[in-house]
């Protein structure tokens, strides 16, 4: 076993880390509210090659592994989870899907891999329960072999910025199909989603497709890897939030004095720090193991789901504790912890929620018996 990062992983992680301390952490304190505030940083990240991490070099990408993607996302999310969510979505479930399905239009692929164009994956249709992923969008085959797509999708990451969307739909025969839809095509309308509790800098849109014509060549195969990447990149964002919240809590308790001493000396603060640090470590190891599996082949033993469930929930606990450690100050926008607290609770919109993933783990284990 070897828990060390290789040279490339280390180099990319360090460069993202310095980008975050230079261009994200401070500005993010003011991005808090504004839609679009992180878009310039997103563009710069494209320039650094971070929008085509998994794409092979001959396809215009950086040709790096899943572990490197995960490490980059953790760093980004320590600065701003909404920004990290956009980078994660483009690289992971969206572009990861095209790569896995061996999409044939290499020219288009290289536009996404180079970051010249952004790609999103539109699956959720906004049912009362986010986890009920029933697809009502329809795809009707046309005489020329192409498809006509109608339906609506909600809370699509990168939905207003992306040039294309991978849209999930059902054929008349009830089969699942994925189509790459040009979002400037007639019949597509998109609107920024209403502000959510957290992830306020993440571009989100509600899409409506009415009788949109999609050429047959834009059919995309299914991809279980896209689903796994959606889950694991969300775990990575959760980890970044966790790490930032823990650090903020520790720093604050060392500085703040009550009853004549730093509050870090009080046991309740120490327990909260120790529990948070332990949970961070566990979440990191689960996530790294899953990333290692996906870097070297397919995921096994539900490592991805275990990591995602644990990391997403740990982020909420750790952010909650960090806010508590700040007392009244934690409730204000002067400190980042209130944002971590909101972001952690909103992460589940990026992928299946922990409850659904628990069911996936349990059903999988039952099958293995």
């Amino acid at each position: 076993m070897d828990f060390a990062l290789d040279e490339t992983q280390q180099m990319i992680r360090d460069s993202v880390r310095s980008f975050v301390s230079g261009q994200v952490r401070e500005p993010a304190m003011k991005w808090n509210e504004g839609h679009g505030d992180a878009n310039a940083a997103l563009k710069e990240l494209g320039g650094l090659g971070l929008l085509g991490i998994l794409a092979p070099e001959n396809a215009g990408g950086a040709g790096l592994d899943v572990a490197t993607l995960i490490l980059s996302l953790i760093e980004l999310a320590t600065g701003d989870a909404g920004l990290a969510a956009m980078v994660a979505h483009h690289n992971g479930p969206a572009l990861g899907h095209l790569l896995d399905a061996d999409f044939s239009d290499k020219k288009l692929l290289s536009r996404f891999a180079s970051g010249d164009a952004l790609l999103c994956r539109a699956t959720d249709e906004g049912q009362a329960h986010l986890d009920s992923a029933t697809v009502e969008t329809t795809a009707t085959q046309q005489p020329d072999g192409g498809w006509q797509v109608s339906g609506s999708k909600r809370l699509v990451p990168l939905g207003t910025l992306a040039s294309h969307a991978i849209v999930s739909a059902k054929t008349l025969g009830g089969a699942d199909i994925h189509l790459l839809v040009d979002l400037s095509a007639p019949g597509v309308s998109r609107q920024a989603s209403a502000s959510l509790v957290g992830l306020s800098t993440c571009d989100l849109a509600d899409l409506t497709l009415s009788e949109v014509q999609v050429p047959a060549a834009m059919t995309v195969g299914s991809s279980s890897r896209a689903v796994a990447l959606g889950r694991l990149t969300t775990a990575a964002i959760a980890l970044g939030v966790t790490r930032a919240a823990l650090a903020a809590g520790v720093t604050y308790t060392l500085e703040r004095k009550q009853f004549g001493k730093p509050i870090a000396r009080f046991q309740p603060m120490q327990w909260q720090t120790a529990d948070s640090a332990t949970e961070l470590e566990a979440a990191e190891l689960l996530t790294y193991r899953a990333a290692w599996q996906l870097s070297t082949g397919d995921a096994r033993d539900f490592a991805v789901e275990k990591a995602a469930v644990f990391a997403m929930e740990a982020a909420q606990r750790v952010a909650d504790r960090a806010l508590q450690m700040h007392g009244g100050y934690g409730y204000t926008e002067d400190f980042p912890v209130e944002r971590h607290f909101r972001d952690a609770a909103t992460l589940r919109l990026l992928t299946d929620g922990p409850d659904l993933q628990r069911v996936v783990i349990a059903k999988g284990l039952a099958q293995a018996v």
Partner: protein
Amino acid sequence: MMDFQLSADEEQIRDLARNYAQTTLAERALAHDAGAFPMETVKELAGLGLMGIKSPVSFGGLGGSNVAYALAIREIAKVCASTAVTTAVTNMVGDMLVHFGDDGQRERWLRPLLSGEFAAGSFALTEPSAGSDAASLSSKAVLSDDGSYYTLSGTKMWITSGDVAGAVLVMAKTDADAGARGISAFIVDPNAAGFHVGRHEQKMGLKGSSTVSLTFESVKVPAADRLGPEGIGFRVAMTALDGGRCGIGAQALGIAESALGGLLAAMPARKADDRALGTDQAAAFRIADMATRMEAAWLMVLRACALKDAGKVMSREAAMAKVFATEAAGFVTKTAMGLAGADGLRKDSAIGRAYRDARVARIYEGTSEVQRIVIARSLVRGV
């Protein structure tokens, strides 16, 4: 014999608050969440007597019990947590005037507080470096040579309604060497020279309540405005917080109720799919846990109130009720966020608002850690 029945008066006060909250206040709650102070609302609440729920009818109050108070705050918080905290703090200041004030002070301060002539009352204990350790506060009040007035100086922080209040209850040291026993309480007129309102805190929730710092730059406070004798200021504050903590418990449960309500309201839409409630145990079990914890917490709040109504010491029970109810609200709002659909995750949805509003309840009027210290200390000392 035990009695879980509300009195007719208690039901009446609850219904008064409920009717107002469900109609007029409900229409404004979103505007308050967008940052508008509920000026019109607080005046109307005063008109209904709800700014002095426990205060004597002769002064414009409702003469209600502590139980009635918790019922009313919960009803208001269910619709607008910001209005609930503004109302709770004004009530608390009025209660202290009733409890520790003399007739002259009640005429001068209580009457306008309850009639709505004053938009609100404020309670100013916390300072930038005296939060949980409130007794270490450093604002000071120095008596003039002729004994007619005090000169007040210092800075307070996190003062709810501090910019709109007509009366501010300020805790300050009159004897710097006597620790908590050197603290006295004053009713300060915000129009006095040297009374400055500082910046407004930008908060995650409770956006319709105003939270400001106050600076006293040699403010002259007439000796007649000292509440009770010198040296009892900390006792005034702790008495206020015993009642206040029941109010915060009730507020937190009102917020939790709105989150659970938001979740349940979205349920019928799910009937069609096979994850609907009943077969979806993830939702069903969590909803059951949410409601059960809320119920237990509510009984604790009511018991603390009932003890106070019976004239008993209830600091421990109030602390227990506060920590249990506010942590229940934390659990309920977090769980609701985990079950919410796309609409429930919106910042301005019932669940989204509740998640942001509930969080502060574990911090103000004594953090959860402070409540546990109060509980353990009282057990160890056997009181």
